[in-house]
Subunit: 153 residues, 2 copies
DNA sequence: TTGTTTGCAAACCTTTTGCACGTTA
DNA sequence: TAACGTGCAAAAGGTTTGCAAACAA
């Protein structure tokens, strides 16, 4: 089980994202570039608001929320970003790494912390199940709920 | 793998729900009763709007949305209802059957159909994983994404 | 230049809340 | 009758859209 994303994987994702955007005939505007750039540095998911706040804390112009949402929309359509729904009414977003590098989330009910989770046995069981279903499975999300190590202590 | 809920399980859930509500010192108002009654007849999740629409189609007074939400809130707090977040910005709700009878969801990206899913191997793998984590796991949700049998055809 | 991207503000939708009235135990 | 539940309308989020100005190719 390995959850951290390496530096080279992040750089690769950023390159891949820029290439896909350009291949799709889209342009590299400031807001979109800033969002890609920020996401490339993340290990786990962020909400649109968190993304904007992070960009506001950095030097340079802060994009409007609408542009953040539009960028996330575009990136999601290009399968560069994965939308994560952990409950509540806030969507979160994280880079989708092409090599199937793929994690899930555990959410602490006390402090709200989101912990990335990876497990090969669960993935295997899930794929085996998918083969048995009439449903044509293209992807899956798992959310664990409970208390993080700190809150359970 | 067995997904359907039997008639007796439904009746049992309704009884259990009414008992829990009363045991919690709460009263049986019209809206709350109507929501419990409707949920008892469901195999899978419904949104608040769907619940209200279904109640509007039945004889008798139609509860206000606020009351539907309040009823769902109360029932969720009492662990009688499970809140399901399948994406989008609409929460769905389904009866939580006490005996650990427990299913997940596959969502069709074309028609939006929600199909209930159950698999013992996946559950086992998930529990094994939970034992290995520092996180204190209390529950989990799985969402499969893809195309339903009809749309894939 | 030409079509794309951005920002702002307004619109939208789901969910929550305030408050007066009706109901339950 | 004293709480609790309900309905309506208003408020509160998060997200989307319309439109004119700024910008990339």
């Amino acid at each position: 089980m390995r959850v951290m994303t390496t530096t080279s994987e992040r750089a690769e994702w950023a390159r891949h994202a820029e290439a896909s955007i350009s291949a799709a005939g889209l342009r590299a505007g400031g807001a979109r570039k800033a969002v890609v750039d920020l996401l490339a540095r993340q290990d786990c998911c962020l909400s649109a608001q968190e993304i904007r706040d992070a960009l506001a804390a950095e030097p340079g112009a802060t994009p409007g929320m609408a542009s953040v949402y539009r960028a996330l929309d575009t990136l999601t359509d290009l399968h560069l970003v994965h939308r994560v729904d952990l409950g509540g009414q806030v969507a979160k977003f994280e880079p989708a790494h092409p090599g199937g590098d793929h994690h899930h989330h555990a959410v602490c009910r006390e402090c709200g912390a989101v912990v990335p989770i990876e497990d090969d046995d669960v993935e295997a069981a899930l794929h085996a199940m998918a083969d048995r279903l009439a449903f044509e499975v293209e992807g899956h999300d798992i959310t664990l709920r409970g208390r993080c190590a700190r809150c359970a202590r």
